[in-house]
């Protein structure tokens, strides 16, 4: 039995028919071709598949597609909507050398965004805590933590300027 669900992904509305057992990860990657969302384990342990659902960071590999009905989903593809000007988090990942193989990157960036939305000035420990569900085998996390803390700073500076 297929279910027809509507969801909003990166600002665009989609209607898809899904199996009850199908995950959000499968819908994003296979149906919507949003392959920036990765699949590293399928069991909720690595964080490579992290997306924001109504602003909350979730493992798309553990989230059933039917749970996304009516929800707002943000994937890495939606981080820089214009496609040209990158999100501060992306810029800092690039500049600080926080990317090696890049397979964890999208998930890391989404977890970072979730953190900075909740806590605009996190301490190093808070950043590390927020990343504890995102595994990386290449970087040892050092430059990722550095990138997020400098993104936080830049985002705060920018919002101060705007006030």
């Amino acid at each position: 039995m297929k279910h027809v669900i509507t969801l909003n992904v990166n600002g665009d509305p989609y209607t898809v028919s899904v199996d009850p057992s199908q995950t959000l990860n499968e819908v994003l990657r296979e149906e919507l071709n949003l392959t920036g969302v990765k699949l590293g384990c399928g069991s909720g342990d690595c964080g490579a598949c992290t997306v924001l659902m109504d602003g909350r960071a979730v493992s798309s590999c553990l989230t059933l597609a039917v749970e996304a009905e009516g929800k707002d989903i943000l994937t890495v593809e939606g981080l820089a909507p214009s496609g040209e000007k990158l999100h501060v988090i992306q810029e800092e990942f690039i500049d600080k050398g926080a990317i090696q193989c890049g397979f964890c990157t999208a998930g890391m960036e989404m977890s970072a965004l979730h953190l900075l939305n909740k806590n605009p000035s996190p301490t190093e420990t808070e950043i590390r805590e927020a990343l504890s569900g995102n595994l990386c085998r290449c970087t040892g996390y050092a430059k990722i933590v550095e990138a997020i803390s400098s993104a936080a700073q830049r985002m705060n500076d920018a919002s101060e300027r705007n006030q």
Partner: protein
């Protein structure tokens, strides 16, 4: 020290933007029209004869397009040591026998994954279970079950090294000790599960997109197992999510994707699950190492006798190379006037062990370094002093191996001691007091000189195409698997041609486009070997455009020329310059329109048997151990290392930081839990690799050397750094608790058991 414009500068990675935006395409992201999805049936038994396989029910399931077993294939064995065909012991799919839990038995391709998965459950296999062996001792015992008929002893490869007078060395020594060390298996645990997509081209060629470290090796071995010619196979490496040695052979799913694509006329994709990766994936060799060393009273080494058994699992994989290299790693770092090595690679009914970051060195040097620390304690000499006394230096010759042209080992030791306040902390922390500080060192190869793969091509190649708009296109088969070699070779080329990074376009790792050949990303070979090939090609381009400038300005033949800042000019008359693009246009005109293209190559020659260049380094770990729980907390790491010229500082730092994560896991938390031949921990939840919270701070210093054999003075920085962490932590734990670890990993239980009895 040479001054550079681009080398050594902070240059963001070539692919960082694509990866940051999620637009970088990895193999599993590829979708082709009509593509089928493949799954592999694996053996549930560690050792069994296959009596019968019935695939008829699976084949009849609607949506299933193809089911194959070993019987359907050309039945040709493969392995990376083509020079010794005996060692090629693996079939893409099992023939007659399975040898480990997870061994590949059959494959299905269907219209979707669920159908393929269902079809697997419909394949009937009748096995006759055979006795199995799960450790080296049982495998080499009299009357042990034999895994491979060609090898009744279960010892597939051995290696001996001997030089100097060992008997005399031990007779003359004031202090001799022998220790046995055991080290365990760990997973590469790259984040991207293996994936391959194959398509049969209209003219019969097969194109394989695959997550690999070795496109050329995969091309060759796929061709031979398919009974096709090399040029009938095109291997393309998309972005790869890490390898660490785990993606450097031909793998079953690469064969199955290609074979089934050919059979069905439709593209076929295989992507492994994480569970399969852990259950059946390659791993680092468990080893047993017995090492005997002799010293004079003053700490001078007299000799070393090292015997190693590698627990190879069911197939050779890269085990023969690891066996060979262990012998060399055993004699690196220190001056051993005499040395003997005997290593044996043993088959057991477990998933095959293979290359993993360090390629035998993390195991071999764990023994070296731990024994060095024990000896220092017993001789009453400071561990760093003892090392300084015996350290190799530039110009040292390792008998039958090589001359070390540059060596920053002593400088690394002195630097790291200063960085961490070694003397004060050693004195301040009392043994067994809960806090400790310890050292581990390493040396590693910058690529191998050996050619068991028996390539008929140069080890590395590069092609540079120059354009009259002032840009160039670099083509290379070097495989960027996340370590960043695309960026590094672009930097080297930009430096050599005096261009900017954005003037260079790169195409890499497509065997039908990029020049033959390259042995791939392993043995820390790419910066040195591919970098040299790039420089060779660039110099050939320069030769031609220099001639143009000479003619244009009617220069005296004595002038030396230079490419810099996008211009070409005589060094002594910089005002007589042309832009790079103008010079290219002129060269093209002089050749009646023929494009300006050059190829460069590198094969190490007259560089002994092992490597053209050695890296060195020293690392100190500081720990605190909870006496009640036995839990080890690493407070900080200090590292000083010599990798020659640093081409890309952030990439080198990234290698170190990642290596520490892996080394920390190897030492304290990562291991396969095995029940006989079965791997029980098959998720990241149960296979505990360090996360962001687990990582201690770390400080690094780089020791300047300029390696004459390396491109612009560079040597390796990828794998060596994965070596010192285990012995450094083990030494610090000993300082903190009195417990001397000789069997990795270090667990709270081991510490508590040992400290209770102290």
């Amino acid at each position: 020290m040479r001054e550079f414009n681009i080398v050594g500068k902070h240059v963001p990675r070539n692919d960082a933007r694509a990866k940051a935006t999620g637009t970088a395409i990895y193999t599993d992201d590829i979708k082709l029209p009509g593509m089928l999805h493949g799954r592999i049936l694996r053996s549930p038994l560690p050792h069994a004869r296959i009596l019968r396989i019935d695939t008829s029910k699976a084949a009849a399931l609607p949506g299933v397009r193809c089911v194959i077993t070993g019987e359907d294939t050309p039945k040709i064995k493969y392995g990376n040591w083509r020079l010794f065909p005996d060692t090629q012991d693996e079939y893409p799919l099992a023939i007659d026998k399975v040898r480990f839990i997870g061994d590949e038995v059959a494959a299905v391709a269907a219209v979707d994954l669920d159908t393929a998965e269902e079809a697997l459950s419909l394949i009937e296999v009748e096995y006759e279970e055979l006795p199995a062996v799960f450790d080296v001792e049982s495998a080499i015992a009299q009357g042990a079950p034999v895994l491979h008929d060609y090898c009744p002893s279960n010892i597939s490869v051995n290696r001996k090294i001997q030089y100097g007078d060992l008997e005399k060395a031990f007779a003359e020594a004031d202090y001799v000790r022998e220790d046995t060390f055991t080290v365990h298996a760990v997973s590469h645990a790259y984040l991207e599960p293996c994936s391959s997509v194959a398509q049969a081209d209209l003219d019969g060629r097969i194109t394989l997109w695959t997550s690999t470290q070795t496109p050329y090796i995969t091309q060759c071995l796929l061709a031979s197992t398919m009974n096709m010619r090399e040029n009938d196979i095109r291997v393309i490496k998309p972005f790869v999510g890490g390898g660490f040695g785990g993606k450097m052979e031909l793998r079953t799913w690469e064969f199955c994707a290609a074979f089934m694509a050919k059979k069905t006329g439709r593209p076929v994709k295989f992507t492994l699950s994480r569970e399969e990766e852990f259950l059946a994936g390659r791993r680092r060799h468990p080893m047993k190492l017995t090492s005997k060393v002799g010293f004079k009273k003053d700490g001078t080494l007299t000799g070393k006798d090292l015997r190693i058994h590698l627990d190879g699992g069911a197939y050779n994989a890269m085990g023969p190379t690891a066996t060979f290299l262990c012998g060399n790693f055993g004699a690196m770092l220190y001056r051993y006037p005499s040395y003997r090595f005997f290593g044996e690679h043993v088959y057991t009914n477990k998933p095959p062990a293979s290359a993993m970051r360090g390629f035998g060195a993390p195991q071999s040097i764990f023994a070296t370094e731990t024994q060095m620390n024990i000896a220092a304690e017993e001789l009453g000499i400071d561990p760093i002093e003892l090392r300084l006394k015996n350290a190799q230096v530039s110009g040292d010759k390792i008998p039958d191996v090589a001359t070390i042209s540059t060596c920053g080992f002593k400088e690394s030791l002195e630097k790291v001691a200063e960085m961490c306040n070694w003397k004060e902390k050693r004195a301040q922390y009392k043994t067994g007091g809960g806090k400790g500080i310890g050292i581990g060192c390493y040396s590693f190869i910058s690529g191998g000189v050996f050619n068991w793969f028996n390539t008929q091509y140069p080890f590395s190649a590069a092609e540079v195409r120059a354009f009259d708009d002032g840009t160039v296109h670099l083509l290379t088969m070097a495989a960027d698997i996340g370590q960043g070699c695309d960026t590094v070779v672009k930097q080297i080329l930009a430096e050599e041609l005096g261009l900017k990074m954005e003037d260079i376009r790169i195409t890499s790792a497509d065997t039908s486009m990029t020049p033959q050949a390259d042995l791939g990303a392993w043995g820390s070979r790419l910066t040195l070997m591919n970098g040299n090939a790039v420089i060779d090609a660039a110099r050939k381009i320069k030769e031609q455009i220099f001639g143009m400038v000479s003619v244009r300005f009617n220069l005296n033949v004595i002038h030396e020329m230079e490419c810099k800042d996008g211009k070409v000019f005589p060094k002594g008359r910089p005002q007589r310059s042309m832009t790079f693009g103008e010079a290219v246009a002129m060269a093209q005109k002089a050749n009646r329109g023929e494009p300006l293209v050059a190829r460069g190559y590198y094969t190490p020659r007259d560089k002994g048997m092992v490597t053209p260049a050695f890296s060195f380094g020293a690392q100190v770990a500081e720990v605190e151990v909870d006496k009640e729980t036995g839990i080890v907390q690493v407070k900080k790491f200090w590292t000083a290392h010599d990798c020659g010229t640093v081409i890309n500082p952030k990439a080198v730092e990234g290698q170190l930081e990642g290596a520490i994560q892996m080394g920390l896991g190897y030492t304290l938390s990562e291991q396969f839990i095995m029940d006989g031949g079965k791997t029980l921990n098959t998720t990241f939840l149960d296979y505990k690799m360090p996360n962001a919270m687990d990582m201690p701070p770390s400080e690094t210093a780089h020791i300047d050397t300029y390696e004459p054999e390396g491109p612009m003075g560079a040597k390796e920085a990828g794998e060596g750094l994965a070596i010192p962490t285990a012995p450094a932590i083990a030494a610090a734990v000993h300082h903190a608790t009195g417990y001397r670890c000789k069997d990795l990993p270090i667990t709270p239980e081991k510490i508590l058991n040992a400290t209770k009895s102290l």
